[in-house]
């Protein structure tokens, strides 16, 4: 394509500069967090750390890794991410697949049942009372069950299953397979792409679980990572065990470096899976937009 005129060339240059600046604004805060997490407390509190560690140290990370409660929260988050995502995928597929089938009479009723929850949601307190009366307070199930099926993801999966050729299912039936066999050995292998896309979305939302833990968990030893992180971010004073001499320089000092180190620890897994994420979310979003 031929580009026309110097006006366009000027625009191209300005546009590139603008977009690069924008990308830097997205990116540089991370550099700042990394720099602070590796800088000495003294350098941070005197405001000398911008994009490069000053008086480089790993003490904040050593402190974070030595804190058993952070490890426990990390473990809880890993647990709800794995188990919760598995539950999400199983529950969503087991509803979306039958409803996608022509043989399922009353499928419009089910679609309506789900749709209504998308446009009218119950207030917080009735949800809270439900969790309480189910005896799920201070249980990790309270972080996984209430969101087991996301209405939006249900519709994404439904439109995926509807696209599957009916001949495959008929072929399975002619071979004498029952419905469960058809679902497990014909439909499930074919739905790997949608499972991967939605699985990643579900997993990220479990990793970032904060709100429901705030509502339903009040035992500190059950806090998932984000709640633990939040507590550390807002506290002005992180109690350093005076007997832990290797951290004595952190006692009675600003915990900025520790906060930045915890932020990095909670962010790193997301950054590590990001290439995988990127491959899938564009696809996931496409399936979603076809629906609307």
């Amino acid at each position: 394509m031929r580009n026309s005129g110097w006006g366009y060339s000027l625009f191209t240059v300005v546009n590139l500069i603008f977009l690069t600046a924008l990308a830097l604004i997205m990116f540089l805060p991370f550099v700042n967090v990394i720099a602070q997490s590796f800088s000495s407390t003294n350098a941070i509190t005197t405001g000398r750390v911008v994009f490069w560690p000053v008086e480089a140290t790993t003490i904040h990370y050593r402190y974070v890794f030595s804190d058993a409660s952070i490890w426990r929260s990390f473990g809880i988050t890993v647990y709800i991410t794995l188990l919760g995502t598995l539950l999400n995928l199983a529950a969503t597929a087991m509803l979306a697949y039958p409803v996608s089938r022509q043989e399922y009479k009353g499928r419009n009723l089910v679609v309506l049942l789900v749709l209504v929850t998308m446009i009218f949601s119950a207030p917080l307190i009735p949800n809270f009372i439900l969790i309480k009366s189910l005896g799920l307070m201070n249980s990790l199930w309270a972080l996984m069950l209430p969101g087991a099926i996301s209405a939006f993801n249900f519709f994404v999966m439904l439109s995926f299953f509807r696209e599957l050729p009916a001949e495959l299912i008929d072929a399975g039936r002619i071979d004498g397979c029952g419905e469960w066999r058809i679902a497990a050995s014909i439909v499930l292998p074919l739905s790997k792409p949608v499972m991967a896309s939605l699985g990643i979305f579900y997993a990220v939302s479990h990793w970032n679980t904060f709100m429901s833990a705030l509502y339903y968990i009040n035992k500190p030893n059950l806090y998932p990572l984000q709640v633990k992180l939040r507590q550390m971010i807002v506290s002005d004073d992180i109690a350093v065990d005076p007997s832990a001499t290797q951290f004595s320089e952190l006692a009675h000092s600003s915990p900025e470096g520790i906060k930045m180190a915890v932020i990095m620890v909670a962010t790193l897994p997301i950054i590590l899976v990001y290439p995988l994420l990127q491959r899938h979310f564009v696809k996931g979003m496409m399936i979603g937009s076809i629906k609307s």
């Binding site: 394509m1 031929r2 580009n3 026309s4 625009f11 546009n15 977009l19 690069t20 990308a23 604004i25 805060p29 991370f30 700042n32 602070q36 405001g47 750390v49 911008v50 087991m94 509803l95 039958p98 022509q102 043989e103 399922y104 009479k105 089910v110 049942l113 929850t117 446009i119 009218f120 949601s121 207030p123 917080l124 307190i125 009735p126 949800n127 009372i129 439900l130 309480k132 099926i149 039936r173 419905e179 990220v204 970032n208 709100m211 705030l214 509502y215 984000q226 939040r230 971010i233 900025e256 909670a266 962010t267 997301i270 990127q278 979310f281 564009v282 979003m285 496409m286 937009s289 609307s292």
Partner: protein, 317 residues
């Protein structure tokens, strides 16, 4: 008969409840498969919906819904006479409005600009960077923001210092909180929001641009005459969806930025409901507030759906 039904299951509709019963029995595996999902929606979505009747009671957790006293619309009356509620409703509406005005167009502009980047490798790099923040939790976003905007240790005040500007405690002054809420949303989600627009742009027939080129239209004219009109249906639908969620700015993203110094202008309905309802146990009063919010949301969605049908010919739902 059975053979025929299997060959053409769609056509084999029969009337009468006995027929339906037999049909369900025949496909019981499918119905059984869907049972957990249906129970899930009934228990976790519809029971709380029914439980919202406590908005019309003085709900007492020990007496339950059956044993609590009915008070009609009392909580709604209290709500509208309460200064706090009006202030928070005002916050919610203003933040929602700023969100529509500033955050909604951001991904459209960004997508148009990204589309003008001709170097594919650089475009990919830019996309990779701007999509990233979307996957961070609000706790992390606020943690980063609190860090870089800190008056003593933050990079922003450090940079302002180079220009001789005194450190500003951005999160500690209520005049900045709404800008921070909107800005953090743009920072986190505007890049990710471009995906859907870029896909729509990719779907435009390239021949249109070639024809425009022949007619002597420059890139700016092409954007105005081809790209934007092609994006209009997508923009309309996303706009209407956005309007439907006008009061749902988001609980987490506000809560993580609030502190006693900025709460007066930053607090929205959701954070207030959490504070007063869950922590102060004003169950019925805050349920009335939540119900009010849900009803407004429903009305907005229905209006949006109606407008969508009028303008684009197809509804959202």
């Amino acid at each position: 008969m059975a053979v025929k039904a299997e060959a053409a299951p769609v056509r084999a509709r029969r009337s009468g409840s006995a027929g339906i019963g037999r049909w369900i029995w025949k496909y019981r595996a499918l119905y059984l498969m869907s049972l957990p999902g249906i129970v899930f929606f009934l228990v976790f979505k519809y029971i709380p919906l029914a439980g919202s009747v406590i908005a019309f009671q003085n709900y007492n957790i020990f007496s339950g819904i059956a044993g609590s006293e009915w008070v009609g619309l009392e909580h709604f009356r209290t709500m509208f006479a309460h200064y706090d509620f009006l202030r928070i409703l005002n916050n919610t509406l203003l933040i929602g409005l700023y969100d529509v005005v500033f955050a909604f167009p951001a991904p459209i502009v960004l997508a148009l600009l990204l589309n003008e980047v001709r170097k594919v490798v650089y475009k990919r790099l830019l996309q990779t960077v701007v999509y990233m923040p979307h996957f961070l939790s609000w706790v992390i976003v606020s943690g980063i923001a609190i860090g870089i905007f800190s008056p003593s240790t933050g990079a922003v005040n450090h940079l302002l210092g180079w220009f001789g500007i005194e450190p500003i405690y951005f999160l500690g002054e209520e005049s900045y909180i709404r800008s921070i809420l909107i800005g953090s949303g743009i920072w986190r989600d505007s890049g990710y929001g471009t995906i859907i627009y870029l896909a729509a742009i990719a779907g435009i027939n390239p021949e249109l641009y070639e024809a425009a080129e022949v007619d002597g239209a420059n890139r700016w004219r092409q954007t105005l005459a081809i790209t934007l009109p092609a994006l209009l249906p997508t923009i309309t639908i996303l706009f209407l969806l956005h309007i439907g969620r006008f009061l749902d700015f988001g609980f987490e993203r506000v809560l993580v930025f609030l502190n006693p110094l900025n709460v007066a202008k930053g607090e929205i309905l959701d954070t207030y409901i959490y504070q007063q309802g869950l922590l102060q146990q004003q169950y019925s009063y805050t349920t009335a507030m939540g119900l009010f919010k849900s009803v407004i949301g429903l009305v907005l969605v229905l209006i949006g759906n109606f407008l969508s049908k009028k303008t684009t010919g197809s509804g959202l739902y």
